[in-house]
């Protein structure tokens, strides 16, 4: 049988896949790389068919399930939940329970924040610094919802609280849009995938950027001066989860995979590939040495306390955000 994974790039490193297949010789693993939006779009188009296990972030499940009915409830008894970090498990369950059924369990978590080349941008600390004229033409960001939220925080707003009042949220978005349009002249380019960001950063074409932490860790490996910086407004934290598509056909294999990747020895391999911290107890300790160093270089305990977990997205917000992003993209800012 085949286990069709719909997951993030690097969330299924070849070593692990091979190892899994050796352990379960009758299961073939087939991996499709995706992101939150595409996962939803894809599963929507297939009506929840075509994949056996998906890994959306914890905040992107509730609304999508309500609207498109693309997942099926998990059988928690088949998952080795004991190993999971209780706080994260509770948080995810809370976010993804519909009609008493749980639709997701956590896998790994990480943050979105900033990264900077220390020697060139020593004082970088806030989302707003991306728009600092001092770094004109030397910063980058991804034109996705993360930067909208980060900028909102930097403007003193709490967007997550505004989710309950979409009109208010629209006001915030409008302000954020103005700010980011103004900021456009300051940035070099919007990055689209980890790849172009790495290239720009490593080559020195830019000195700072909004980033996933994992990308920053990877670059830290190459250049010790490039570090992840949790913004002072708080890094945005996400938890990528496991969820079963509604028409998944290999549930057993899916559970096997879940339990497999949560095993400590595999967690290290996984984190080595993803740069994210597993949602298992002691997940941080299971990081490979280099990543551990990078995390330690980036985070203080205060930073960890200051994490802002993505809040559940209510229906309609994606559309509002999408339009705002388009507005920013289309504006001619220089």
């Amino acid at each position: 049988e085949t286990l069709r994974l719909l997951t993030w790039g690097s969330y299924a490193p070849d070593v692990l896949v091979q190892k899994f297949e050796e352990e379960y010789p009758d299961i073939d693993v087939e991996v499709t790389f995706s992101n939150n939006e595409e996962m939803i779009a894809k599963l929507r188009a297939t009506g929840g068919a075509g994949f056996d296990l998906a890994q959306p972030s914890h905040d992107r499940i509730y609304a999508a399930q309500l609207e498109y009915d693309i997942y099926k409830p998990l059988d928690l008894s088949k998952i080795n939940t004991d190993v999971l970090e209780a706080k994260l498990l509770a948080g995810v369950k809370e976010n993804t329970t519909i009609d008493g059924e749980v639709y997701a369990v956590p896998h790994q978590w990480g943050t979105s924040g900033l990264m900077a080349e220390k020697t060139m941008a020593p004082d970088f600390s806030s989302w707003a610094d991306l728009c600092d004229p001092q770094y004109a033409g030397k910063t980058s960001m991804r034109l996705k919802r993360t930067i909208l939220l980060g900028t909102a925080f930097s403007m003193g707003e709490n967007p997550f609280e505004a989710y309950s009042d979409l009109e208010k949220y629209q006001d915030i978005l409008d302000k954020v849009a103005d700010k980011l349009i103004e900021c456009k002249a300051n940035i070099k380019a919007y990055w689209k995938g980890g790849d172009d960001l790495s290239a720009m950063m490593l080559s020195g074409e830019i000195v700072a950027s909004e980033t996933w932490d994992s990308t920053a860790y990877k670059l830290f490996d190459q250049n010790e001066n490039i570090v992840f910086i949790p913004p002072k407004e708080g890094a945005l934290a996400w938890i990528d989860t496991f969820a079963l598509p509604r028409k998944a056909k290999a549930d057993d294999a899916a559970y096997k995979w879940i339990n497999f990747v949560l095993r400590p020895e595999n967690v290290t391999l996984m984190s080595g590939s993803t740069g994210a911290i597993a949602a298992v107890q002691g997940g941080k300790d299971l990081l490979p040495e280099d990543k551990k160093a990078a995390v330690n270089a980036a985070f203080t305990d205060a930073d960890i306390d200051n994490l802002k977990f993505f809040a559940n997205i209510p229906p309609g917000v994606e559309d509002m955000e999408g339009k705002t992003l388009e507005k920013i993209k289309a504006a001619t800012g220089g």
């Binding site: 919007y190 080559s203 074409e205 993209k329 001619t332």
Partner: protein, 288 residues
């Protein structure tokens, strides 16, 4: 009996054609039209209406992007024609018979790899620390590296590169069919190079030019990867917005409306082009 066989074979031949056009082109587009006329009023609740189209009209971002896509596509088409025509002419009329095949094959080179790899190649060439910039620094022509990527010029270069083949191929085939003595007659009767080009070669090549322009324009307006990968922070492309509607905003209804709008818009441009040049679709695109 002969008649029956004829009728039967006509029906047999019609079947694949009908299945293809009906199931894969006509019905899907009707489906798109229907979808685009559904307004979303609440999760899983829809109403019939023109809201998705009105949304487009009311939001300058969208039609600005459409107009930008259209005008850049026209620019790319024009550039492809201007750059490609001399090449096509060279292949069809000046190169020796043996060189001709070779050059024609060389023209097909961009087709050997996907859009993605082509763009990938351009990125490696154009970026600030890329091959061209480094080369120019090395030669001393420029002092510090220059960013050639992430701007409209890069998009245009990339698009022209991608589509020029579709301009050259129909041009070569029409010019090939042109009797050399027609050009010689043009000179012999007193025309200079310019007159001959304007009054004889270009009018003769018109079906090829129009065919090339149509295909080039459609490919450009419908392209996705090149503008995304090479474009800068201001470079929206309408297909990107369609993609966004579908994928990031989960707004299939809006996306369908946008798709129809792109199709209508490009068809309109082509219709105008055909009217202005006095050609028809059947004697241009279909011939190449």
């Amino acid at each position: 009996m002969q008649k029956d066989i004829k009728r039967l074979s006509l029906i047999l031949l019609f079947a694949p054609f009908t299945l293809w056009i009906l199931l894969l082109v006509v019905l899907p587009h009707i489906g798109m039209v229907i979808l685009s006329l559904r307004e979303k009023v609440a999760p899983r609740v829809y109403e019939f209406g023109f809201g998705n189209y009105l949304e487009f009209l009311h939001e300058p971002i969208y039609w600005n992007t459409l107009i930008r896509t259209g005008s850049m596509s026209l620019l790319v088409t024009a550039l492809a024609l201007i750059i490609g025509f001399p090449i096509a002419y060279y292949i069809a009329k000046i190169a020796g018979p043996r060189a001709r095949g070779g050059l024609f094959l060389l023209c097909l080179i961009p087709l050997w790899v996907s859009d993605l790899i082509r763009s990938f190649g351009w990125i490696l060439l154009l970026r600030e620390t890329g091959v061209i910039s480094s080369f120019l620094v090395w030669t001393g022509l420029i002092g510090t590296p220059v960013e050639f990527l992430y701007n409209d010029a890069a998009v245009i270069v990339g698009l022209v590169y991608t589509v020029i083949l579709f301009m050259i191929v129909p041009l070569v085939s029409t010019l090939d069919g042109m009797d050399n003595s027609m050009i010689e007659a043009g000179y012999n009767l007193g025309g200079n190079g310019f007159t001959v080009l304007r009054r004889i070669i270009i009018p003769y090549a018109m079906p090829g030019i129009v065919a090339g322009c149509i295909v080039t324009f459609m490919l450009t307006a419908g392209s996705y990867l090149t503008p995304i990968l090479l474009g800068g922070k201001n470079s929206s492309w309408f297909t990107e917005q369609i993609y966004n509607q579908f994928i990031t905003r989960f707004n299939w209804e809006g996306g369908a409306a946008f798709g129809m709008l792109l199709l209508l818009f490009t068809s309109l441009v082509i219709w105008l082009g055909l009217k202005l040049s006095g050609q028809t679709l059947a004697n241009t695109v279909a011939k190449s």
